[in-house]
Amino acid sequence: MGRYILKRLGLSLITLVIVSFTVFAAAEVLPGDVARTVLGPYASQQQVDQLNHKLGTDQPLVKRYLTWAGDFIKGDWGTSPILNVPVRPLVLDRLKNSLILAGFALLLIVPISVLLGVLAALNYGGAADRIITITGLSFVALPEFVVGTFVIVIFAVHLGWFPVSSSVPDANPVDIFQQLLLPSIPLMFVLFGYISRMARVGTVESLRSNYTRTAVLKGLPQRQVVGRHVLRNSLLPTITVVSVQVGYLVGGLVVVETLFSYPGIGQLILNAAVSHDLPVLEPAVLMIAIIYLVANFIADVLVAVLNPRVRLAT
């Protein structure tokens, strides 16, 4: 078990190195001259070169990567040349805002999705199954800005229940719902599609398995069969799916935060990318990768703890 966790941790770190290098390389090598962007089209080439030298963008890539990675680890993330603010507090603050929104969506939708997915499986082929499956299938296909537009028009414009654009809520629960419910609905639509499908497939598979047959033929009541024998095995894959969805969520956040003018990291990344604000863009994207890897790591460890076949294989 310990060895499994260590191995898993090592793999995550390797992936992180690859990812951070890719982020760095992609952002720096692809066309788009930082100094030129900062100084505008009318600056002389000499001024541009000078600024590039000052920013260190004329050094070899690997050397720059190492310097940058070292600074990142030390917490020295620099200043945004475009926004003229220190990067670290900016990125971390925006990240916090996004985590609040994403956490809200996850907390609300994961239990509902799992429940409905299991319900669909237990009614396999019946009306409830068809309705849940088709709903999930349709929800997952809808881009966030489409759903977002619908909810804004209906609930904010016509009914006036919610603000048209959202801000970071204070701790009071009414405000949390007021600010976060609308922007999280588009995210929940997609999440519901994925998670309920996985929960359904896992449960159906488990229901058809030979060990479920054994449990039924032992004469156990239906509740025992489902509770003890089916769900224990069928929900394991769902844990992994939820953790992979953390990655999706961030992508969805870019859209939702733009649509609702919510000050999160997605919006920050989009603006930084469009304006070539590399000192902001790189750590922001890297933070997302780190969060994704942490979520996956936790999910893998959780699955290993719950699944004896992984737990006992050393």
Partner: protein, 685 residues
């Protein structure tokens, strides 16, 4: 054992079941009636698709969703299982009726400890508390002869061997001492020695519990060993039933007779005996048949058989057959025309294949697993070498090295005086001359190509036949040689039955006129009647073309029938090798002895079973000295643990690896066999 009691434990009356498939109802069981007495073991046998599993599942009322019961009753005591309320059914299941089936690995919940899984039965049916239930479960584990039951109870299923898993299933099934135990192919997929252990356990448990048993199997030998009465299913109909010995000794339905004649019995040899096979094929599922379901394949069918469905005609008070002319059945002559009178190809006496010091390792460093651990094999031109061993013995890895699908780690392979050690660098000539027939014909033919194009491609690449006209001629000859018909060439494999597919696969391997064909379990995926036809074909081809076979099989009767010489493998090594008859008679390696005693046969003179201790060691950490010493029934002492055994040569050209000398071993083995024969003779009398 006792005769049928006054009132049967279970009575099945007119059971008729269909499956709904694509808006059509296909009948799988048609008016099946039989009863099982108290404490009786009733065997239900038949080939795949006969409906035997459906019958077993109907008994537990656990049919798939698309099954429809069209009629009949299953009387369990005074109540009908098919109409019982859900709560009654739930009470019966687990308490009064229980089931053990194939593939114990998937039948146990992977994430619950086995002790708890057994304890559940006690908690729900006997209302025991948690710790009492667990104690009872551990007790039950020792009843099914699991050593260290308290330790095993804390294990998860994947930590147990196949044999242990099946014991756990038995413990769970018998926990409440049920009235009825349904066993659905409980040993299929297990190795021969494990299968024998499980069957021993069934016998012992029968003596201990007075449970009625329905035993469903495709293996006539096993049913003959376990059951008192037997019913034979064919195309959803019960066509014969009677006391096991009587039915197997003097069957009264033409199908039962034919089925029995298809099996290679010990003592049959390809040079002298030919296997019977059944012409034609099973009627398609759901076919409307006016008369007898077997009429199309029956040698004594008349007009009446095709128009009027026969009822079960009594042979005597306990034996009946669904045949108008059952009295003629004993007189049906063997259908096989005898040994084919083709001139056997003349064969030079020379070595064809020489494998030396072959090692195949998977993985590397400390994790390395030696699947083949130093093997020497040679095969002469025109000779059939049988390769025998259980799973994990390395026989498949050895075969793959020989045909060049994988490269050996060490050692050399010489074939027709060519060095073919490295599979990938083999020339066309070597590939053409050394081909392979695979185990599973469903897998071995590309489902998206037609039979014709599969064979043509082989002719092109192996025989180098390029011109269309010449290809057509060769293709026709090839098709005829495996007794396929030209119309089969235009179809894709999915349209063919298993037997026909295997013929295509055989034709493919013979396309380049090979001198050696490696047959990897070529009949183990096939039904007995089909197996016979394929074995006959292989034997004819071998005689006519003068090819050599390396014939891998877990079925000793089959190997004995086709092989000239036999090599027995255990944990990556050959432990016994020699002419077939010599290997089959004492003295032989103690492992061979155990394997031989494990085969369930139809012959009444049951032999003593040699029981192997423990479980198969992992090939990644083989035992020191003699690899078999951890399980050997003739274990001598430390010498077996520390010293690798020498090759011993016995009379008749056989060699085996053991510390016991031939004379001594022969004395021990014949002596034990005689003692065992006495013992079984006593118990029968």
């Amino acid at each position: 054992m006792s005769a049928v009691a006054e009132q049967a434990a279970v009575r099945i009356e007119g059971l008729t079941v269909s499956y709904r498939r694509r808006r059509k109802l296909l009948r799988v069981l048609n008016d099946v009636s039989f009863e099982i007495g108290h404490g009786e073991a009733y065997g239900l046998v038949g080939e795949s698709g006969c409906g035997k599993t459906t019958a077993a599942m109907a008994l537990m009322r656990y049919l798939p969703d698309n099954a429809v019961v069209d009629g009949g009753r299953i009387m369990f005591g005074d109540e009908d299982v098919l109409t019982a309320s859900d709560s009654t059914l739930r009470k019966w299941r687990g308490e009064r009726m229980a089931m053990v089936y194939q593939d114990p690995g998937s039948a146990l919940n992977p994430s619950i400890k086995v002790g708890e899984q057994i304890a559940e039965v006690y908690r729900f049916h006997k209302h025991l508390g948690k710790s009492d239930a667990l104690a009872a479960a551990i007790e039950m584990l020792s009843t099914v002869q699991i050593s260290a039951p308290d330790r095993v109870a804390r294990r998860y299923p994947h930590e147990l061997s196949g044999g242990q898993q099946q014991r756990v299933m038995f413990a769970m099934a018998l926990a409440t001492d049920p009235d009825l135990l349904v066993l659905d192919e409980p040993t299929t997929g297990l190795d021969a020695t494990v299968e024998a252990e499980v069957l021993d356990l069934v016998e012992q448990l029968r003596a201990q519990f007075n449970t009625s048993i329905l035993f469903v199997s495709h293996n006539l030998g096993i049913v003959a060993r376990v059951c008192e009465r037997v019913g034979v299913l064919y195309a959803g109909r019960l066509i014969e039933q009677g006391p096991a010995h009587e039915l197997f000794q003097s069957p009264r339905h033409p199908y039962t007779l034919a089925l029995l004649r298809c099996m290679p019995r010990l003592g049959m040899r390809k040079d002298t005996d030919r296997l019977d096979s059944i012409a034609g094929s099973l009627p398609p599922l759901g076919a409307e048949i006016a008369g007898c379901v077997y009429a199309d394949r029956c040698p004594i069918a008349r007009d009446r058989c095709r128009t009027e469905p026969p009822q079960i005609e009594p042979v005597n008070e306990r034996h009946g057959a669904r045949c108008f002319f059952h009295e003629e059945v004993p007189g049906i002559p063997p259908q096989a025309p005898g040994i084919e009178q083709v001139p056997a190809a003349t064969v030079e006496q020379e070595m064809l294949l020489e494998v030396q010091e072959l090692v195949k390792a998977y993985g590397s460093g400390t994790n390395a697993v030696l699947a083949v651990a130093g093997v020497d094999v040679h095969v002469a031109r025109g000779e059939v070498l049988g390769l025998v061993g259980e799973s994990g013995s390395g026989k498949t890895s050895l075969a793959k090295c020989i045909v060049g699908l994988i490269d050996p780690t060490e050692g050399t392979i010489e074939f027709e005086h060519m060095d073919v050690t490295k599979g990938r660098s083999r020339g066309r000539e070597a590939r053409r001359r050394l081909q392979m027939v695979f185990q599973n014909p469903d897998n071995a033919l590309n489902p998206s190509h037609t039979v014709g194009s599969i064979l043509r491609r082989s002719l092109q690449l192996l025989a180098g036949v390029r011109s269309k006209g010449q290809q057509d001629a060769e293709l026709e000859a090839l098709t005829r040689s495996v007794r396929l018909e030209p119309r089969h060439l235009d179809v894709r494999p999915s349209a063919l039955s298993g037997g026909l597919k295997q013929r295509v696969a055989i034709a493919r391997s013979f396309a380049g006129k090979p001198s050696m064909v490696l047959c990897d379990e070529p009949t183990s995926a096939l039904d007995v009647s089909v197996q016979a036809a394929i074995l006959n074909l292989l034997v004819d081809l071998q005689r006519r073309e003068g090819v050599s076979y390396v014939f891998i099989s877990h079925d000793l009767a089959v190997v004995r029938y086709v092989a000239d010489r036999i090599a027995v493998m255990y944990l990556g090594q050959i432990v016994d090798v020699g002419p077939s008859e010599a290997v089959f008679s004492a003295p032989h390696h103690p492992y061979t002895e155990a394997l031989l005693s494990a085969i369930p046969t139809l012959d009444i003179d049951a032999k003593a079973r040699i029981k192997l201790r423990g479980t198969l060691p992992s090939p990644s950490d083989p035992p020191s000295g003699c690899r078999f010493h951890t399980r050997c029934p003739r274990y001598l002492g430390d010498i077996c643990k520390t010293e690798e055994p020498p090759w011993q040569d016995s009379a008749g050209g056989q060699s085996y690896r053991c510390h016991i000398a031939p004379d001594e071993l022969e004395r021990l083995q014949t002596q034990d066999a005689a003692a065992a024969a006495d013992a079984t003779g006593d118990s029968v009398a």
